[in-house]
Each structure stands twice: as C-alpha cells, then as structure tokens.
C-alpha cells in the first residue's frame, strides 16, 4: 500500500536505543494508525500495544486458515509481525491498520500452505512435526477442502472480531460477493459434513 509516485522508505525496525529514548506520546485510547506511527517514530512499545489489540484474533484466524494448527498459526502471525516491522514506515493508511494486518496474515498463511504442499510432494509422509498443517478434525478437513476464496470468506465472516464490511475490505471484494461466497461455502461444508456422517 504505497502511495502512488512515492518510493517506500527503507523498512527497518526502530533501533533499540531509539526505543529506550523515545517517550510514549499516545495514550491508551489511541487509534491503530497512531500506534503504528508512534512505532515508526521509535516507540517499540507502541507495537506491543497494537499487538495487544489484534494478536489473539489474528492467531485465531490463522489457526482456522491453517486447519487448526496452533503452532502454524503462531508462526504465520510472527512472520506477519516481521513484515509489519519492515513495512511500517511505508504504510500510507489507505486501509485500516486492522485490514492491513489481516491481509498480511492471510498472505503468510497462503505462503505456508504452498510451502507445505511442496514439502508434502517431496516427503509424502513426514514424521510428526509440531507445525504439521494437516487438518486435525472433521470440520477442519472440510474447511480445508473449500476453494481458497470461499475458505477465507467464511472464516473471516465468522471471526468474532470482524464485521462483514471489514471482511469484504480485507478480501477487496464487495459485500455482496463476500456473502455469496460465504453462502456457497456453508452449503458446501454442510454437504461435506453430512456425507462424512453418512459414510
């Protein structure tokens, strides 16, 4: 989300010395954007306050996207924070910080799933790993079986921290499209779960 015609500034975390010296200029009721700006200005704790608002929800969303793997979800969210730290200076504010964070997490989850698929192709039956992304239950398996667009739509809409308007903004589609995807996903999930019950 770089502004048109503007080169992104070098993405790097505020230095530890700068963090020590920089006093916190925003209060507890500051907006996400203000916290991010504070972090860019050198206040590392501002990132902590931003994380306190969103980290748990992001882990929940990532867990749903990654078939119920908590370890995988934590890895995805940590990678997302690294991306945030590197790209914070170039954040322009065209979308809400929460939308931006959620998109980063979704992209990291897609990357991890792609890596996992490649790994499984070369190593079909790997030994038990902590971050094995294979679905653990019936529902997780059914969710994993959905097309990516439907899976993301249905999970975003059922996140307690996200409204359907926010979910549509994250996926960059109109609300109607989002609802249509959710309806299709739910119907497909019901069918899959019923078939599994019968078999």
């Amino acid at each position: 989300m770089h502004p048109a015609g503007q080169t992104p500034t070098t993405a790097r975390a505020p230095s530890r010395d700068a963090a020590r010296d920089a006093p916190s200029r925003v209060g507890a009721g500051a907006t996400d954007a203000a916290l991010l700006a504070e972090f860019v200005g050198g206040d590392r704790e501002a990132l902590g306050r931003l994380a306190a608002r969103h980290e748990a929800a992001l882990i929940g969303l990532a867990r749903g996207l990654l078939g119920g793997s908590t370890a995988g979800a934590e890895e995805a969210v940590q990678e997302a924070w690294v991306r945030v730290i590197r790209g914070a200076a170039s954040f322009r504010g065209d979308a809400a910080v929460k939308t931006w964070l959620t998109r980063i997490v979704i992209n990291r989850c897609r990357e991890m799933q792609r890596r996992e698929r490649t790994r499984r192709r070369h190593e079909p039956d790997p030994p038990d790993r902590e971050n094995d992304l294979r679905p653990s239950g019936e529902l997780e398996r059914a969710v994993r079986g959905l097309p990516t667009e439907q899976r993301e739509a249905v999970l975003l809409c059922h996140c307690r921290s996200m409204t359907s308007r926010e979910a549509a903004a994250v996926l960059g589609v109109p609300e109607g499209t989002l609802k249509s995807r959710v309806r299709l996903a739910l119907s497909r999930l019901r069918r899959t779960l019923r078939d599994e019950d019968e078999s």
């Binding site: 790097r12 748990a56 940590q78 998109r103 979704i106 059922h158």
Partner: protein, 438 residues
C-alpha cells in the same frame, strides 16, 4: 447462528500466543537480522580496501615464486643431466637395470642394459634411429653397421620387438669383449639424431594470377613424373578475370617446399600453409600385425602340406580338417592383403605430399592492362574498403532477411505455444489466488 457457524466461530476463536508475545519475537528476529547485515557490511568494507588486495596478490606471487623456482631448477638439472648422459656413463654403471634416454635427444636410444647371469653375457636393447628404420622400411634387412666397421659391433634386428621408432635391436657381448669395448669409438651413438617420424604432409595455397590457364599449365609442368609425382586433379572454370582453377598435386615430400616456392612465383599468394599428420604409430602397428599374420599363414601352409602329403597320418574326417584350414588360410590371406594395401597407402602418403593450389584471375579491370596502369596501393586500399563496406551492408541485409524469415516461420507455432501458456497460466492463477495487497 446454527451449530456449524458456532463451530466455525470456535475454530477462529482469538487465542493469545504461548510464552513470549509474537510481536516481541518478531522484533528480536529483525534486530538479529539487522545486526547480521551490519556485520556483513563491515566485513565487506574490509575486503573493499585496495591495500588488502595488493598485499594478498603480492603474498600469492611470492608464494608462487618460492614454489616454482626450485622446480625450474630441477627441470634445468634434469635436462642438463639428460644431455650429459653418455654411453660411457651407462657402461660404467651396469648394476642399474633400466636406463632410459630421451628418444628425441638421441636417435639411438638405450632401452636397457643388464647382465644375463646364466651366460655371463651382457645384453643391451636399443631402439634404432632414422637410418636403420629407413633401411627396414625400404626392405628386409637383417644387419646394420654403425659408423665403425668392427664386425663385433654389428647389430641384429629383432623383428618381433615393437618400437615407437619402428625397429628395436639387441647386442650381446661377454665381459672380455666389454673390456675391449672401451677402445671402440661411440661417436656415432653420441651424435644426437632426430627420431624418424613417418609424416604425411599436406600443403595448400591460394594464388591470384594474371592468367589462370597459363598458371595452371605452368604448375602442371612442375610435376616430376618419372619420380612418381602426378596431378591428382585439375579443374579450370570461367574465362579471363573470372577464371578460377583448382589443382591437387602429389609431389615428393622432400620437394614440397621447393614446389610451393615455385608456385608462389607465378602470382600473388593470398594464403598458404602446410599441415602434417604423424602416421608412425599407425604404420608400425600395421607392420606388426602384418608380420604376425604372415607367420600364421606360414604355419597354416605347413600344416596343409603335412596333411596333403601322400604318407600323412589323417584323422577321422580329413576332408573337413583340410577345408577348415583352407578357409582359415583364405581369411588370413585376405587380412594380409588388406593390411599390405593399407601400409602401402600410408607409405605413399608419406612419400608423396599433397599440394592443393587454388588459382584466381586478377580483377577483370586489371587483366591485360600493363603493370604501370594498374591501380596503386592507395586506390586498392580504397577499393578494398568500399568492398568491405558493401560486404558488411549485404551481410546485414542477408541477416535481416534470414531473421525475418525465421520469425515468420516461427510465428504460428509461437502463437499456439503462447496461447497454451496463457491458458495454463490462467488456470494456475485461478487455482492460486493472487496475494492480497499489503
């Protein structure tokens, strides 16, 4: 909210990270990466110093010098040692079994010198130089004398001994004879002689002459037919300044250079050169196999004579045995004839060098014009320059034509391949949604 939806909400239920918060871990990770970048940058800064590179290069040169100089010395000593070895040195130290001399340095190289303990006779094996090998190639010869005429020092060929020089021989003598050998002159042996190499040479010349037909006739007259030289092919095309000719001559190897000199006097030489092919190994190999096959043939003939004699003791099926031997005999004879022909062909190539002469007429404008009216060097240079520029333009035009034709012929296939790739790419894109904008 139905049960499915509540399960979905549970699946995405917010959950704090276990242990250190993830944002703190991410900060530590980026800090570590930043430190690593700084460290690498500092290392690169060190390597960017020119003084360091100069010092390293100087140290390497010094090391190379220290390592190389002793080897150079060794080589020098070795070379000197080789040249310094004489037959006297070898005679004085016969306890050492094998002595190798550089075949290239001495035409008559000693292979080994060792005492034959049972007879108390000394046996020396030699490889022959040019003269002896030539004698062998000219016809069967069993005896070769060196410069001295002492009959005790005549050397017999060992026809079965393979040698790179073509022939090896042996001399034998007793201790008493050896003592008197000190008085024998070894001058002939000590003289460095080139090792005989059987080389087929091929010369080629491009010539610009005033009149192609006259030059062609003049070249043809250079052939010494009684000595076996001949014109292998002669082709003349065109007339006047456009005329060209190509002659392939077979001339005696020793005369190749003189004939080339004579040909070069007929006009302006564009290019000329001589190529050589060493056939020594091939000829020696064929001769060795030929000797072997001839021995087999003799043995088979003796066998056949014995079986066909009136008082011969015959086996159960004498006819079959005789037919088998005859069959084998004809196979061996065929092999001998083939090898003989191959040997003769190779020797002919060695004896007669091949000279290919390509003749071109002088420019049409120049033909028949007195030398004083011909263009000077500057005019020629300008003409050449213009010609080269024209050639360059033609070459660009030809390349462009070729490229266009290639593109046109490839276009339909490229279109089909592009369409297939685009469809495949669309399919992949559909199955893998593009990343969300960050």
């Amino acid at each position: 909210m139905n049960e499915l939806e509540s399960q979905l909400a549970k699946l995405t239920e917010p959950a704090p990270a276990e242990g250190t918060p993830l944002w703190e871990r991410a900060l530590e990770q980026t800090d570590a990466e930043s430190d690593e970048r700084v460290r690498r940058a500092s290392v690169l800064t060190v390597f960017a110093r020119p003084g360091l590179w100069f010092s390293a290069a100087a140290a390497l040169l010094l090391m190379a010098g220290v390592l190389t100089l002793p080897n150079l010395g060794d080589r020098f000593d070795l070379a000197e040692g080789r040249r310094g070895v004489t037959m006297d040195d070898l005679d004085n130290d016969r306890a050492q079994d094998l002595r190798w001399l550089d075949e290239a340095a001495s035409g008559l190289a000693m292979r080994s010198a060792e005492p034959a303990s049972a007879t108390n006779r000394w046996v020396e094996n030699f490889a022959l130089g040019r003269e002896a090998a030539q004698a062998e190639l000219a016809g069967p010869s069993q005896t070769v004398l060196l410069d001295n005429d002492d009959p005790r020092w005549q050397y017999n060929f060992d026809p079965n001994a393979p040698s790179r020089a073509g022939v090896e021989y042996q001399r034998q003598y007793t201790d008493a004879e050896q003592e008197s050998a000190d008085t024998i002159s070894w001058t002939a042996i000590r003289q460095p002689q080139p090792v005989v190499r059987l080389v087929a040479r091929t010369g080629s010349m491009n010539l610009e002459v005033e009149t192609v037909r006259d030059a062609s006739a003049a070249i043809a007259s250079m052939i010494d037919a009684p000595a076996g030289e001949y014109i292998q092919s002669r082709r003349v095309r065109g007339e006047g300044g456009d005329a060209t000719a190509r002659l392939v001559l077979r001339v005696a190897d020793a005369r190749l250079e003189s004939v080339m000199d004579a040909v070069s006097d007929l006009g302006e030489v564009g290019a000329s050169g001589i190529e050589s092919q060493d056939l020594t190994d091939s000829i020696v190999d064929v001769e060795s196999r030929l000797r072997n096959e001839r021995r087999v043939e003799t043995e088979l003939l003796e066998l056949l004579d014995r079986w066909t004699a009136p008082d011969a003791a015959r086996g159960e099926d004498p006819l079959r045995d005789i037919l088998a031997v005859r069959g084998e005999l004809s196979r061996v004879r065929l092999g001998i004839e083939r090898m003989d022909a191959s040997r003769a062909k190779m020797l002919r190539r060695v004896r007669l060098a091949t000279l290919t002469v390509a003749l071109e007429g002088a420019d049409e404008d120049d033909a028949g014009r007195p030398a004083t009216e011909r263009p000077g060097p500057l005019e020629r240079f300008a003409d050449d320059l213009a010609g080269a520029a024209g050639d360059g333009l033609w070459s660009i035009a030809a390349s462009a034509t070729w490229l266009t034709r290639a593109l046109v012929s490839i276009a339909p296939w490229a279109l089909i391949a592009g369409l297939a790739l685009w469809l495949a790419w669309r399919r992949v894109r559909r199955s893998r949604p593009a990343p969300l904008p960050e």
